[in-house]
Amino acid sequence: MSDVRMQAQEVFRQVFDDPEIVLCDEMTADDIPGWDSLTHINLMVATEKRFKIKFATAEISKMKEEGQNVGTFLALIGKKLARTS
């Protein structure tokens, strides 16, 4: 498991209060209990802090849209990390 995926998994576990969450690319907001508009903000904040990255307003808003899933989210994090390093 890649480092990004593992760290993101820790973030998901804390944000959604479930130490058993295992991330897979196909997961969407509907698959994770408790992923509502409030926990979504927490997820964004916690992810930014963990990876020292910053999401654009559009990226914050589109996470829960059609076609978005954990895979696209991890790819977005990876892209931002590549840009900062």
Partner: protein
């Protein structure tokens, strides 16, 4: 055991750097979940209360709030004001932060929220949900975006003044209506200035700039709000946080959050402090440690000339600034007390004689300098001042003392302090401990009253069981002879220690080295570490074999580790050594000096019998060794010595 573990985790969570916090927090969270599953509600509540601080990050706050929600039905919270939050923004997270921050101070609150942006309708409609809720407090959680009027650049001075008046009239009408209909207290936010200046440098001067308009509206609120309206100064929160960081608008655009999420916790603590003031839960007394809190160094060892305090030394100036801060608190009616491990006359001498001291003895309402544990002393301070234990804030540089008080007197607020005294003020300020709804003349005279009252009180009493605390320190000691490696530190202690020093014999490094090489002599040093870190080499003993006796020549210890049982451990080690050598007894001597009263009863405490004494200046003691000798119990694990 669960209790000890969770305290240890809590302390390391509070102490670690921001980068490491999230790792330790996961552990704390797991322990909190365990406590919940075991239905240990009270213990879990205590942990949440101590773990949630103004420096908690947003994610930790959300996790702690979830734990709090689960245990809330199982704990009784007295006195619950009914708070309605009417926002021009999303208020859910603010409401949660307020509730949790108030809980961390032992208070509860019943919260009602409206949808964002409908506060006018809620206030104006007499049949609204708001009035059915019957609020005792209404918070108008506004931001600058809720201003009814905006200046436009072509307006002249008089038109702007009229606009400020119109703005105030608009808010006044809302306050009056909601107050008349529900009798509630109104908490009105000041308006935060946004994170940009359209007119750049002229923003503060141009009559029609937004910043200047907001400032004038805030001034008008301050000057003209009626007594039932309390201002909550959000503009200052934004300024203290840094407007650019506070005004990160991504989460406003996305979800109408009033400020960047990371400042929601601070926002919550700030509002909660007003509710706490309303409930009588604000703190009344700042209790100060002395050594390394009010000055740099240890007065008992370094002396009046040796402590760092005053101009010419950076750290010395930081301690002066901290004392000035404490003095300013006293001037606005907060009591000051001292709780220090020191000889009282030595500690007081600094207040009386040190020219750089800002605080004077008559600033201190209750002065406790002794060797009793701090939890017991804090109880005594509260008793003498006749205030609740939960009215005290203890400021202490020593993490072990902070841990002890958090554990044995959890009602006392104990802010985490940075190592650098230059950060003390901000660390304390962040908590909004001393909030008031208004500043009355009486507040300014209160300190004098309490001080006089405390002077009437004489009796010293009360003790807490410290065994559990000592165990939770997880102390490990290494005892061995003086070696080449430890020679320098040993000589330094021999020549510096005053308080825990039985004979105060000074010796050079060369003399100590010769003693260490002499087979008739026994040398011992003790190094101690605990879960807060390594204290290093903290105790030295030199003794000589004379006939069937081991005669102790020098026994000293650093005051940092008093009352931990180190002396008992060392005595056990000594007895074992002497028995192995076939010796019959151990002899010790106490020679009084102006500074070592602390150890007058040292040998008596260890079970020695007094065999000689002259006018209390010099006493001699003896312990007989027999085959059925058993070591005295201690809470320190002894590990093998290595050079």
């Amino acid at each position: 055991m669960q209790t000890l573990d969770s305290y240890a985790t809590l302390e390391s969570y509070l102490a670690v750097s921001p980068e490491e916090k999230s790792g330790v927090f996961s552990k704390l969270l797991a322990q909190l979940r365990t406590l919940l599953s075991q239905r240990c509600w009270a213990q879990a509540a205590l942990m949440v209360q101590q773990a949630f601080t103004p420096t908690s990050d947003f994610t930790a706050f959300q996790s702690l709030y979830r734990i709090y929600s689960k245990l809330k039905p199982h704990i009784g919270l007295p006195q619950r004001p009914r708070l309605a939050i009417l926002g021009g923004c999303t208020t859910t997270q603010i409401a949660q932060a307020i509730e949790l921050a108030l809980f961390s101070q032992g208070g509860g609150v019943e919260v009602f929220e409206t949808e964002y942006g409908v506060y006018r309708q809620e206030i104006l409609d007499p049949g609204s949900e708001l009035y059915r809720f019957q609020p005792t407090i209404v918070l108008l959680a506004t931001t600058w975006r809720d201003l009814i009027h905006r200046p436009s650049v072509e307006l002249g001075r008089e038109e702007i003044t009229a606009l400020v008046d119109a703005e105030l009239a608009g808010w006044s009408a809302l306050w009056r209506t909601v107050h008349d209909r529900s009798g509630c207290l109104v908490v009105q936010n000041t308006f935060d200035r946004p994170a940009w200046r359209q007119m750049d440098n002229h923003e503060m001067r141009h009559p029609a700039s937004l910043w200047r308009f907001v400032s004038r509206v805030n001034d008008a609120l301050a000057d003209r709000a009626p007594p039932y309206v309390v201002l909550h100064d959000v503009d200052s929160l934004a300024a203290l946080a840094g407007r650019r960081a506070w005004g990160d608008e991504r989460f406003f655009f996305h979800a109408k959050m009033p400020c960047a999420p990371e400042f929601i916790v601070d926002y919550g603590f700030s509002v909660a402090s007003l509710l706490a003031a309303q409930l009588g839960l604000s703190k009344k007394c700042l209790v100060l440690d002395l050594d390394n809190t009010c000055w740099g160094g240890v007065i008992g060892d370094d002396g009046l000339g040796g402590i760092r305090l005053g101009q010419g030394d950076g750290e010395g100036e930081a301690f002066v600034a901290f004392q000035q801060y404490a003095k300013a608190l006293k001037q606005r009616g907060i009591l000051l007390a001292v709780c220090s491990k020191n000889e009282e006359h030595i500690a007081k001498e600094v207040f009386e004689k040190h020219t750089e001291m800002v605080l004077r003895l008559d600033d201190i309402s209750c002065f406790m300098a002794n060797w009793t544990d701090k939890a017991a002393n804090l109880r005594e301070i509260a008793r003498r001042l006749n205030i609740g234990l939960n009215s005290l804030v203890m400021v202490d540089d020593n993490p072990a003392e902070r841990a002890l008080v958090r554990q044995l007197a959890p009602e006392v607020a104990v802010p985490e302090l940075p190592d650098d005294p230059a950060g003390y003020i901000q660390a304390i300020e962040a908590h909004h401990y001393f909030q008031t709804l208004s500043l009355a003349q009486e507040d300014l005279q209160r300190a004098e009253y309490y001080r006089a009252n405390a002077q009437r009180e004489q009796a010293l009493s009360g003790s807490a069981d410290v065994g559990e605390y000592l165990q939770s320190l997880a102390m490990v000691a290494r005892i061995g002879p003086v070696t080449a490696m430890s020679l320098e530190r040993t000589a330094q202690l021999i020549n510096k220690s005053n308080q825990f020093n039985l004979t105060t014999k000074r010796r050079s490094a060369a003399e100590v080295s010769a003693i260490a090489a002499d087979p008739q002599w026994l040398t011992r040093t003790v190094s101690l570490s605990d879960r807060f870190g390594d204290n290093g080499l903290i105790s030295v003993l030199l003794a000589k074999v004379e006939g069937d006796a081991l005669v102790i020549d020098t026994w000293l210890m650093s005051c940092r580790v008093l009352k931990r049982g180190v002396e008992i451990l060392l005595n056990n080690n000594l007895c074992r050594w002497a028995i192995d050598r076939g010796l019959q007894r151990i002899c010790g001597e106490y020679v009084a000096t102006p500074k070592n009263d602390l150890v007058r009863e040292h040998y008596a405490g260890l079970g020695y019998v007094q065999i000689y004494g002259d006018v209390a200046d010099r006493t001699q003691w003896e312990m007989s060794l027999s085959a059925n000798w058993r070591p005295q119990p201690v809470f320190i694990e002894e590990q093998p010595f290595h050079e």
